[in-house]
């Protein structure tokens, strides 16, 4: 028999009160982060109705159930509005799985270690950039504000390390679904990101001589033929007030050219609904946006585990369903997250941006976003950017790093332009056209030279 310690609405009421107070930390019954630091069960920080979907829905939905249009109303306030619409109206189905209790499963191990090691050492300098409070230098790795209490702290955690690896390369397969439900476009592309500062590895937090750079990030398309070779390199300054440098290789021009970096709300290729600005819900230097505020703390359903298909599909691709042709959505699993921050911000540095506001749902345990909505300038909901994360464990198949830790990364993303009803869904594949494979460390290679320089862009462009 389950004995409830508090009345049913206690948890939600407590989260609401924390939101209104403004500067509270994570956890309801107890502070969350001491539990994480001690490797304890994080559900102890929350009342039962925030850790059990069955209790939350008073038995209407339980672990193992599949959300459909028939039962989704029971969890409507646990989904972002676009996800709810997809299930309610478009035939999307989502499997409910048991919640993750061990927060270490929400991190790549070195990143969690750095987060714990450096907890309390971060501060904002006079310009609004995050520095190590001991010496005023760039951040030294891990989440700078693991128990984020303000909007700026929350976006800092997302911005300083996107993939939570010092270097990662993602082999990405993309399908773009037309309003008719048919696949209109299919692309393969590769995304590489290398942190120059805020690193967690043994070689220290900074790449030598690159303290002024936050990251290098490149993207290049490998298929289909008319798009292959299109490639871009972003060089992000550590100073988050500055736009990244952007160079690109367009196959028609046969050479690397400089591009302006402030146009971040444009589709890169036909049919794709993802913009540079959408990356990691923090695709722009954080100080080029403003008015960050935490507008809500709440429980949420998010895809944060068991979404990797490495044991079921050789290339890690996923089954699809729903929509007019049965292929609009990836199969996905969600679990109840006891507490997310709902962060809102406006593109203050982009007065002509089509986006008027973004709303980001952030799991307070790993400070990673689990849902992300943008609104147009009229205030109308525009796009959702729904990721799935998790350890790369699928049944008995486990992908590990060199230290033997399971890989943690994103597994898929679905971006739904609700206004045009176009869906882009991407999967982190094992390998895509061109023989590029996903990887999460440099493997002993000079990855900077191979993927993240002017010369590399010229070569990857293959002209």
């Amino acid at each position: 028999m389950h004995i409830k310690k508090f009345d049913f609405n206690y948890g939600r009421r407590a989260l609401l009160e924390k939101t209104l107070k403004g500067a509270a930390g994570a956890g309801v019954l107890a502070p969350l982060w001491p539990l994480i630091a001690n490797g304890a069960d994080t559900t102890k920080a929350y009342p039962d109705e925030l850790t059990s979907i069955e209790m939350y829905t008073k038995g209407k939905v339980k672990v193992g159930d599949v959300l459909t249009s028939a039962n989704v109303d029971a969890v409507k306030d646990l989904l972002d509005p676009i996800a709810y619409h997809q299930v309610k109206e478009m035939g999307r189905k989502i499997t409910i799985i048991a919640p993750t209790k061990d927060a270490s499963k929400l991190f790549q191990a070195p990143y969690l270690e750095a987060t714990l090691r450096n907890k309390g050492k971060a501060k904002f300098d006079a310009d609004g950039n995050i520095v190590n409070s001991a010496d005023g230098k760039p951040w030294i790795g891990g989440n700078p504000f693991p128990d984020a209490k303000t909007g700026n702290e929350a976006i800092s955690n997302l911005t300083l390390s996107w993939g939570r690896h010092d270097f990662s390369i993602y082999a990405i397969r993309d399908w773009d679904i037309a309003p008719t439900g048919e696949t209109a476009y299919q692309y393969d592309f590769v995304w590489a990101e290398l942190n120059a500062t805020a690193r967690t590895g043994k070689d220290g937090p900074y790449l030598p001589g690159k303290n002024d750079i936050l990251r290098y990030q490149s993207v290049w398309f490998t298929s289909p033929q008319d798009t292959a070779g299109t490639s871009f390199l972003n060089t992000w300054y550590y100073d988050q007030r500055k736009f990244p440098d952007l160079i690109g290789y367009l196959p028609a021009f046969r050479r690397v050219r400089t591009f302006p970096a402030n146009q971040r709300f444009e589709p890169l290729v036909s049919g794709v609904t993802i913009f540079l600005s959408d990356a990691w819900a923090a695709g722009d230097p954080m100080l080029t946006w403003g008015d960050y505020k935490i507008v809500e703390r709440k429980p949420h359903l998010g895809s944060i585990s068991q979404n990797w298909y490495g044991g079921r599909n050789a290339n890690w691709e996923k089954p699809v369903h729903g929509g007019p042709k049965g292929q609009t959505f990836f199969d996905s699993s969600v679990e109840l997250i006891p507490e997310v921050l709902v962060l809102e911000a406006e593109p203050t540095g982009y007065p002509r941006a089509p986006v008027g506001k973004k709303r980001v749902y952030i799991d307070v345990r790993n400070s990673m976003f689990v849902a992300y909505i943008t609104f147009d300038r009229r205030g109308e909901m525009w796009k959702s950017f729904e990721p799935a994360f998790g350890q790369y464990i699928d049944g008995n198949t486990v992908m590990k790093d060199k230290a033997g830790n399971p890989i943690w990364s994103w597994t898929h993303v679905m971006t739904h332009d609700i206004q045009s009803n176009r869906m882009s869904r991407i999967v982190q594949a094992k390998e895509v056209t061109g023989g590029y494979k996903s990887a999460y460390d440099d493997g002993g290679q000079d990855v900077y030279s191979k993927y993240l320089t002017n010369q590399a862009i010229q070569r990857l462009g293959v002209g």
Partner: protein
């Protein structure tokens, strides 16, 4: 022998293709099973992991595996391509005036006024009985049928029917691309392009004038002897000057790219047939000097947004890139010299009047040898908002230069015209130069027939050439040559013209008379032979760029400003008189480029805009000396030059924009090239990509070289016959 050689080349090329494709197919199998080198995948022994179907719409993983992965764990291949019909419909009632059937004098009766050689052609010959020279008079009077009373002034009409093609261009293009990755450092890229054109244009055919003046004899028969040869690029003595290209009159197959790429750390080495492009400026080739252009197919009138992607002539090259540090990259190359390829005579966008016969000396002069190399080095750096680049190149100018050259066509001037009438002047010339007795009017005493003498001159007495002095001057001005001095160089550079009674003309009136004399004597027209030669030059260039920071969202925010310039000391130009002494001038080419992405609405993605200004001190966009500019159809009688030239250099302005629509399914483009001397090219375009497989593009070329002023002072007039709508439909796989 030639056929056998060609067949071997065809087989060889297809063999390469089959080998590449075969290798790729053999390498393919299903699924990925190997782990990445960086991470490990573990599956416990008692597990039976199943592989479920991937996305229902997943087409393939496109990854090569199998046997080759056993040898090379990183082995992979990709194979893709597209096919695309392209059609251009003319919207103007005229064909290329540089072609026989587009010649503005076709069907136009022109009066010719032969001149008196004994007065330096200063006066026209009124009639045979008025000839002042007894010797010539006697000879002419002795000609059969000559009664001594016939006026020599005559009327000529180009005997070629004008045409008005509806289709300027219709081809089917196919491209196959194979990428093979052997290791993470070593890869191969092979791109094969095949183009076919069924022809079926209202073309000139040399066979149609075979009965006139003995037909066209000079030049390469496959280029000048029949219907237009749409694709074959032949030079004197070599039918395969482009390595890795197989072509017939109606098709071509070649490798725009076939190279190995080796990368290790900051070093990148690319070896093989490749294109190299430098510089930030688009369309304006300032630092973009490594490659010539292939002007076959659609010449420079293709889809502007693709710039020269289809045009750069690939060359066997070794290119080495080295990233010196974060900011600076060194980029060097050495390549076999490959010239710019001109459209063949009578093809739709031919740039050289067909009254000329070109003898391309690329092979004859040994410029096709593998030791004739172009090479260069570029240093490029980016320093925050600033960028800079420097180039130093030693190259053969791929555009080449032209001069009069001997025809080597031994064909006598006709004594009887094609219509059976007596050709008095031809008969007189043949009488004076009968090959047996000395020419009584020639102080050199040289003995030869008119055919032998003409063979040593730049003129061939054949149809399809220039029929009148009026035509001569019109076309000289059109191609930016000096009609008076050009005539004189055609005489003084070739002593054999002396016995033919040719002599330098003192002025326009004399030149006009003299030209009409010889066109009449030729029994119709003369074709001029020019040699195309190539010279080395040094290009020194640099560029700076700056990205502005302004009020966010303002027009001055994130504006990319780029200034590029290239200096070429002693560049060799075609002399406007086509003399053997080429023009040598120091040339500076500079461009200011401003690029901007600007959002004008919330609904549409940012508009890309580019504004460019180019200044060239000594030549035009086509590399023609400005000294040949300003020509006209007629001049004052005492004029001694026909080209005043263009003072102050040439200037060009480009404005272009691209407006993508939401989701990039549609895109509207516009490009404009403005020549302040009175020419404009505008190209509105639309692109529709409804899905990943199909793309439709349509663009309209509007050209007007007659906005104001002398059309021969702007570059657009060279192309302004080519108003057209082009539609392309692509299917990729």
């Amino acid at each position: 022998m030639e056929k056998n050689t060609a067949r071997v080349r065809v087989y060889s090329s297809f063999g390469i293709l089959v080998l590449l494709v075969g290798t790729a197919v053999y390498a393919q199998d299903e699924g990925a099973s190997s782990s990445t080198p960086e991470s490990t995948v573990e599956t416990s022994a008692d597990s039976t992991p199943t592989t479920t179907s991937a996305n229902a719409d997943s087409d393939s993983t496109s990854s090569g595996r199998g046997f080759f992965r056993g040898l090379m764990p990183e082995f992979d291949f990709t194979f893709s391509g597209f096919i695309r019909p392209e059609t251009a419909l003319s919207t103007r009632n005229a064909d290329d005036p540089d072609n026989e059937r587009g010649n503005v004098y076709d069907g136009v009766a022109i009066t010719r006024h032969p001149g008196d050689p004994l007065t330096g052609y200063g006066s026209a010959l009124p009639a045979l009985n008025a000839l002042p020279a007894p010797v010539l008079n006697t000879i002419l009077a002795a000609s059969p049928g000559v009664n001594g009373q016939i006026p020599l002034t005559n009327t000529v009409t180009r005997p070629i029917a004008p045409s008005n093609n509806v289709f300027n261009y219709h081809i089917l293009r196919a491209e196959l691309e194979l990428g093979m990755k052997f290791t993470s450092d070593l890869s191969l890229t092979a791109r094969l392009r095949a183009i076919g054109d069924p022809g079926d244009y209202s073309d000139f055919n040399a066979g149609s004038v075979a009965g006139l003046q003995g037909g066209i004899q000079g030049g390469l028969p496959e280029i000048y002897g029949g219907a237009p040869n749409l694709f074959q690029y032949h030079v004197q003595g070599d039918k395969h000057p482009n390595p890795l290209e197989i072509a017939g009159p109606n098709y071509m197959v070649y490798f725009p790219a076939l190279f190995l790429d080796y990368n290790h750390g900051p070093l990148d080495v690319r070896l093989g047939n490749q294109q190299i492009a430098w510089g930030q400026a688009i369309f304006f080739r300032v630092l973009d000097v490594p490659d010539g252009l292939d002007l076959r197919r659609h010449s420079i009138l293709d889809y502007a947004s693709e710039e020269f992607s289809d045009k750069r002539v690939p060359a066997p090259a070794l290119r080495v890139n080295y990233q010196i540090n974060d900011d600076i990259i060194a980029d060097g190359y050495v390549q076999k010299f490959q010239p710019t390829v001109l459209g063949n005579p009578n093809t739709t966008y031919n740039l050289v009047p067909d009254q000329f016969t070109i003898q391309d000396m690329y092979h004859t002069d040994g410029d096709d040898k593998w030791n004739k190399l172009s090479y260069g080095l570029r240093l490029r750096g980016t320093f925050g908002q600033f960028g800079a680049q420097l180039i130093a190149v030693r190259r053969y100018n791929p555009d080449g230069v032209f001069r009069w050259t001997a025809t080597n066509v031994n064909k006598n001037l006709p004594s009887v015209n094609s219509d059976g009438s007596v050709n008095e002047l031809g008969a007189a010339e043949n009488g004076l130069n009968n090959g047996v007795t000395p020419n009584p009017l020639d102080p050199t005493g040289e003995i030869g027939t008119t055919g032998q003498l003409l063979a040593q001159s730049a003129f061939e007495a054949s149809p399809g050439g220039v029929y009148s002095a009026d035509e001569w001057f019109h076309y000289a001005a059109r191609v930016r040559l000096d009609g008076i001095r050009g005539l004189n160089k055609g005489i003084t550079d070739f002593p054999s013209t002396g016995p033919l009674l040719a002599m330098p003309a003192a002025n326009f009136a004399a030149a006009h008379n003299e030209l009409d004399t010889f066109f009449t004597a030729a029994g119709g027209s003369l074709r001029g032979h020019v040699a195309r030669e190539y010279f080395q030059e040094t290009n020194l260039g640099g560029g700076v760029s700056y990205i502005t920071e302004g009020e966010p969202g303002s027009i001055l925010d994130q504006l990319i400003i780029n200034l590029e310039a290239t200096y070429t000391p002693g560049r060799v130009f075609t002399s406007p008189d086509l003399g053997k002494d080429f023009l040598k001038q120091d040339n500076l080419v500079a461009a200011l480029v401003m690029e901007k992405y600007q959002r004008f609405s919330q609904s549409f993605p940012a508009t890309y805009m580019v504004l460019q200004y180019m200044h060239r001190t000594k030549d035009d966009l086509l590399g023609r000396s400005l000294q040949g500019y300003g020509g006209r159809d007629t001049y004052s009688d005492d004029a001694t030059t026909a080209t005043p030239g263009l003072k102050g250099g040439s200037n060009y302005v480009v404005f272009a924009f691209q407006q993508p629509f939401p989701n990039l399914v549609w895109r509207a483009d516009f490009a404009m090239l403005f020549d302040p001397q009175g020419g404009i090219l505008m190209q509105p375009a639309v692109r529709w990509k409804p899905n990943g497989s199909y793309t439709v593009e349509a663009f309209y070329n509007y050209l007007n070289g007659r906005l104001y002023g002398n059309p021969n002072n702007n570059v657009i007039s060279t192309f302004d016959y080519a108003n057209e709508v082009t539609v392309r439909f692509s299917y990729q796989f």
